[in-house]
């Protein structure tokens, strides 16, 4: 135990309360020494490690095996015949595959762009601590906390032929025939992506707001004395200040958009045709609707590669921030 004690004492003068966000490493307080060979508190992590090994890591290995196997509804619970790259070949030969990849890209770009811009705009608008702003943020975060299935259903209702949106358009004298938000192949992907952005904006606003709150009050006062207009404040103080936060949040939003499932399922079921199908959604359709688990696994594995790339970017940032934690 003596080894541990000396190390813990050595690193004790680090910041006690980690500030919410936007904080960059201000100086390494953790000693860069060889860590002790063993600390028995590491054993506290063993149960979680075991659970993750069994129900998160092992399944990924099974997924890999499935993706090169002939696994269907009939053979799922038997020995899987090795099929080489047949599942991948089948996937690439699918005439819809290229379109689905493009769908995925477009979906992610729309959700991320709107989610980030909307989150920042919302954070700025609720930032100047009035009561109305606080309530608005509270309401938005409540919407975020609602089950995605409820949020998807309400938008399916609002975007229907005689829903609120179309009726409002009619009242304004636009599009008497009604806009087929969810069944027009040109619009379906956009509609689902917009609703997904709507659902992630509250979370992003919360994070951006925390970053804004960490701005030194004296900087703002100085700017005000110098006669800076609100838009100058946004341009020269807010935007530069939230940049580190925005980097991490962009990665999180990209991954969130990419993982999206519930909204697509409830609002369009990937349709019409494959107009609003993304890669992870295709994996579900192949495995659980066509009962071709092998093809589903191959698709899921392809989409996994995309996520791992982004996850590593994020993990690198976490590692960089490690010193201040």
């Amino acid at each position: 135990m003596t080894g541990t004690d000396s190390v813990t004492t050595m690193r004790s003068p680090r910041p006690i309360v980690s500030s919410p966000s936007g904080s960059r490493p201000t100086g390494t307080t953790r000693a860069r020494r060889r860590p002790p060979a063993s600390d028995r508190r590491l054993a506290f992590a063993l149960p979680a490690a075991a659970l993750l090994a069994a129900l998160a890591v092992w399944p990924l290995l099974v997924l890999g095996r499935m993706s090169v196997g002939a696994v269907t509804g009939a053979t799922l619970n038997r020995e899987w015949e090795f099929a080489g790259l047949a599942n991948y070949a089948q996937l690439l030969a699918d005439p819809d595959f290229a379109k689905i990849v493009l769908n995925t890209g477009a979906f992610v770009v729309i959700v991320t762009a709107l989610g980030m811009a909307g989150g920042f705009a919302a954070a700025v608008s609720v930032w100047s601590g009035t009561k109305g702003g606080g309530f608005l943020l509270g309401m938005m975060v409540f919407v975020w906390a609602l089950p995605p299935v409820i949020n998807g259903s309400i938008w399916k209702f609002l975007l229907a032929d005689h829903g609120l949106v179309n009726e409002s358009l009619r009242a304004l004298g636009l599009g008497a025939g009604g806009v087929g938000f969810l069944y027009d192949p040109k619009l379906a992907l956009w509609s689902v992506a917009l609703v997904n952005a709507w659902a992630v904006i509250p979370f992003n606003a919360l994070i951006f707001r925390a970053a804004l709150l960490s701005i030194d009050e004296s900087v703002l006062e100085a700017a005000e004395v110098d006669g800076a207009r609100p838009r100058h404040r946004v341009r020269y103080i807010f935007l530069p200040h939230v940049r580190p936060t925005a980097t991490v949040l962009t990665v999180l939003t990209i991954v969130y958009a990419f993982r999206s499932f519930d909204f697509i399922y409830v609002m369009t079921a990937g349709g019409p045709g494959t107009a609003s199908t993304t890669l992870p959604y295709l994996a579900y359709v192949e495995a659980f609707q066509r009962l071709d688990y092998g093809a589903g696994a191959a698709t899921a594995l392809l989409s996994l590669v995309v996520v791992v790339v982004f996850a590593l970017v994020y993990a690198r940032d976490v590692r960089r921030n490690e010193e201040v934690l």
């Binding site: 980690s18 129900l55 995605p148 993990a315």
Partner: protein, 274 residues
Amino acid sequence: MATRRRAEPLAFTVRVLLYLVYGLPLLWIVLTSLKSQGDVLSSQASLFFTPTWDAYASAFADPQLGASMRQSATIAVGTTVVCLVFAIPAAYALARVTSRIVVPALALLVVLQMIPQTANLIPLFWLLAQFGLLDTDAGLILADAAMLLPWAVLLLRPFFSAIPLAIEEAGRIDGARTFRAFFSLALPLARNGILTVGSILFLVSWGEFLYGITFMLSPEKYPMSALIAQQAGAFGIDWPRMMAFAVVSALPVLVVYVFSYRLLRTGLTLGAVK
């Protein structure tokens, strides 16, 4: 933040827009649930109508509502408890230990947290089948807990890091062993963090849909989210009834949310960016 700010027309406009875009859908769920099927058929957008409890009467007459509410409660409470039991000690260890393993472990958690749910869904379906856990509460709770565990650990860790080491050191001089230092010193001090992460876990697992609809084979075991999706996917949707289902299933969310909003506001911020 007490300084008086100049009037900002743009910020005001954005706020009004946000009130509309987030307030109207909430309002429409409640309004629609108080309409009759006929009102909705004539115009889904109408603001003036005679409120009726018909939709709620019809919703509560369906035995599936009670069954699904119970199911969701079992899954959400079970997932929250199981996940916390695994996450708390792990977060403590990753906050306190200075081994070279900590940073790679955190990176692994980040990667696991980001994996698309459909990628886990396919092999887990097979895995749960091997152990006879398909269509059981235990199977679904384990799958949900494993899915949320990386996030829970990452969210909890800053709360343990924030506990001054000096407190634990003082305890250790007094002769508290590793286990006692954890249970009687660190655990009570991280209470806020545990409440925060517990609320988040409850909210997320209450709304979880994909595992619920896949791992539960018999529709009478579907959680609320699956029941609502089923209603919304039917031909000739009975919207008032569906919205009544939505309101009922949003009530627990509202209760937990109201009690934990202050905690959530800071807790989410800590875990997401770090």
